[in-house]
């Protein structure tokens, strides 16, 4: 792994307050999910997962068809679809539209896809004011920081961090009570909602047969973002499509529960096109930006393709014993946790962070809780194989490769295996049956040293099993 990855992990593990915050927040979300997907509460939970997986599989396997159907229906309802291949095309489109309409202020609701393309930074660079309106995202934006978690973006900020931030960035008197802090943000953002020229949202789902964008939230900022300004732009990865409106209940039943333990999130908006004739309010213009940004790279391989089923619920983060220790910022890209560990190498190439697929004990908790049944451990294993192939090509990590070659040779030659075992046992301290806390320094190298940093070693038994068996 890169030195940076190693260092970030170390720093996060060493921060006791952060450790507590991460573990507590993810523990709460995990318990909430368990409570609302229990057999007694949602008896068809497993059936819903199977159906959701089947729907995603069918859609992704026929993605071009559904994208075209989606576009036709968006246009039939008076909206426009814009395909963008990368971050630059997205910001170019937004900037061009803003310029033509004379809009300078943009309000944004939560969208990991827009984080992926650094949209706010690009817009700011060109003199636009683009304000995040989800409370957590607003806090993260003011702090010039990155989301910590797909759902609980500001879990790493305490109320005192927020107090400092608001005083510094908003010039308000220091306030440490969360309810009051929220009111401060509400007042500031209300003004932005009502004066912004453009509202940019993400999309939880794109409905092909309706040309609709579905937004799921708890605050109401996405509703405001997409109702108050005259222009609404929804930015979505091409993989967000599902075939029919009638498929939505399956996904909604899984999303709220998997993410936060809510049978339904507070607001679900089903938006198709600008306001219709006779409707009193709503945007006059409606655009859906369909983003590739590397998604097409994940399509060719049948099992990697599954990575695109993700509905961004965050359940895998909350279940992951690794995420619950290292948090969101150790991951090198916007997506963290198990889903981040499989998306990042596929989008950025395995060399971007070669340690990432290995930062997992392969416990399988992620695959078990994924509402769309992505086999995350399977993809991690495949990516590990890819890292090794890439290393072999570049002549890296030769020593480890050699070690495993030797391992395979030893393990296919039982006499040699037995001899190697006896040799190791004779060198190891017997510890008179007690576990070993340290080894003399010539022996304390590599894996042994790493092991001993954190826990004791088992003592070497006087005889191996096969020796005992022979002497029975």
């Amino acid at each position: 792994m890169s030195a940076e990855f190693d260092r970030k992990i170390h720093d996060t593990l060493a921060d006791a307050n952060l450790q507590l915050a991460i573990y507590k927040a993810t523990g709460q979300l995990k318990d909430d999910r368990i409570r609302t997907t229990a057999d007694s509460v949602l008896p068809d939970y497993q059936e819903l997962r199977t159906q959701a997986n089947a729907l995603k599989k069918h859609t992704i396997d026929n993605l071009d068809h559904y994208l075209e159907e989606f576009q036709r229906n968006v246009e039939a309802h008076g909206g426009k679809v814009v395909y963008c291949k990368d971050a630059t095309e997205v910001s170019d489109f937004v900037l061009d539209l803003a310029k033509r309409r004379g809009a300078r202020l943009i309000v944004k609701s939560k969208s990991m896809t827009t984080e992926e393309v650094d949209l706010n930074q690009r817009l700011a660079h060109h003199g636009m004011e683009s304000v995040e309106t989800d409370l957590g995202e607003y806090i993260v934006q003011l702090a010039h920081d990155r989301p910590y978690h797909i759902v609980a973006v500001s879990m790493h900020k305490t109320r005192y961090d927020v107090a400092d931030l608001f005083t510094k960035e908003l010039g308000v008197v220091r306030e440490t009570v969360p309810e009051k802090q929220a009111q401060i943000a509400r007042a500031v953002l209300r003004e932005k909602f009502l004066t912004a020229g453009i509202g940019i949202s993400g999309a939880n789902f794109l409905i092909a047969d309706s040309g609709a964008v579905v937004l799921v939230e708890n605050e109401g900022n996405a509703r405001l973002t997409t109702s108050a300004p005259k222009i609404h732009i929804a930015v979505a990865g091409i993989e967000k499509v599902i075939p029919r409106a009638a498929d939505l209940p399956v996904f909604l039943k899984l999303l709220g529960r998997s993410a936060t333990g809510q049978p339904l999130s507070v607001y679900t908006s089903f938006l198709s096109g600008p306001r219709r004739a006779g409707e009193v309010d709503g945007p006059e213009e409606f655009y859906v930006v369909l983003l590739d940004n590397g998604r097409t790279k994940l399509l060719p391989d049948r099992s990697r393709r599954e990575s695109l089923y993700c509905i961004r619920c965050g359940a895998c983060l909350n279940a992951c014993p690794v995420y619950r220790k290292i948090g969101g910022h150790c991951y090198p890209w916007v997506y963290s946790g198990p889903i981040g560990a499989i998306l990042t190498p596929q989008f950025m190439g395995v060399s971007h962070e070669p340690g990432l697929p290995f930062a997992s004990s392969l416990c399988g908790a992620c695959g078990e809780v994924c509402p769309v049944k992505i086999d995350i451990p399977k993809v991690l294993l495949e990516l590990r194989g890819e890292v090794r192939k890439s290393e072999a090509r570049e002549g890296l990590n030769r020593l480890e490769k050699l070690a495993f070659r030797v391992f395979a040779w030893v393990m296919t030659h039982p006499r040699i295996y037995e001899m190697a075992g006896r040799m190791a046992a004779s060198m190891a301290p017997a510890g008179d049956g007690k576990w070993i806390g340290s080894l003399p320094s010539p022996m304390s190298v590599g894996p042994l040293k790493a092991w001993l940093r954190e826990r004791d070693l088992p003592p070497s038994p006087p005889k191996s099993f096969r020796e005992m068996w022979r002497n029975r």
Binding site: V266, S269, E279, P300
Partner: protein, 211 residues
């Protein structure tokens, strides 16, 4: 153009050709439970109240009017143009601004009002949800900008849940540019997982069931 480029990449990756037919998707899965109206009403009320919303049940439209008059006493209220509210005599209550058809005015009034009064197209009892479709009768902002929301719903409109909604309404986009499902007051847990209501939508929600 990026459209052709991206679609081409998609097709190539999937081994599909342009315009190629698609096998049938998995059949739609909607399960309709049989639930008596009285049970639906009871469940609806229980769910809304579990989310810290308020509910009331009144026998007649007249009673609904009286209830709302009490609820808005001393407050500035804005009502949507829902015919049901007109029928109940709620739109014409003193202190209620209604009949607004222009978006600028609607935004200004809603931004100042203490409470927004609407009806609802449907309610979903198993989750305590209001279903609101934008139309000449219902603007989006009435249930969104004011810090409190009060919805008056005749009981016939209470469905069992999402599955029933999408069974009777498989194509919401044919009817409206915006269908919103509202389940409880606006809430966030973004500061130390502390539950805070009313940022940014209404922090108080009241559902009045008529009949």
């Amino acid at each position: 153009m990026s459209r052709e480029n991206i679609l081409h990449k998609v097709r190539t990756a999937l081994g599909r050709s342009a315009g190629q037919a698609v096998a049938l998707p998995p059949p739609v899965r909607l399960r309709l439970p049989e639930v008596a109206m009285e049970d639906r009403i009871a469940t609806m009320r229980a769910r809304v109240e579990a989310l810290a919303g308020k509910t009331a049940r009144v026998p007649t439209m007249e009673a609904a009017r009286e209830f709302v008059a009490g609820a808005i006493a001393g407050k500035t209220a804005v009502a949507s143009n829902a015919p049901y509210l007109v029928e109940c005599g709620i739109s014409s209550l003193p202190g209620v601004r209604s009949g607004i058809r222009e978006v600028g005015e609607l935004m200004a009034v809603c931004a100042q009002a203490d409470i927004g009064i609407t009806s609802a197209d449907y309610a979903l009892s198993d989750t305590g949800t209001l279903v609101m479709m934008a139309s000449p009768a219902e603007g989006r902002l009435v249930s969104l900008l004011p810090p409190a929301h009060l919805a008056v719903v005749p009981r016939e409109r209470i469905l069992t849940g999402l599955d029933e909604l999408f069974t009777i309404l498989p194509d919401p986009a044919a009817l409206t540019s915006s269908m919103v499902l509202i389940t409880g007051p606006s809430q966030t847990g973004d500061i130390e997982q502390t539950l805070i209501r009313g940022v940014h939508g209404p922090g108080e929600i009241t559902v009045v069931i008529v009949g």
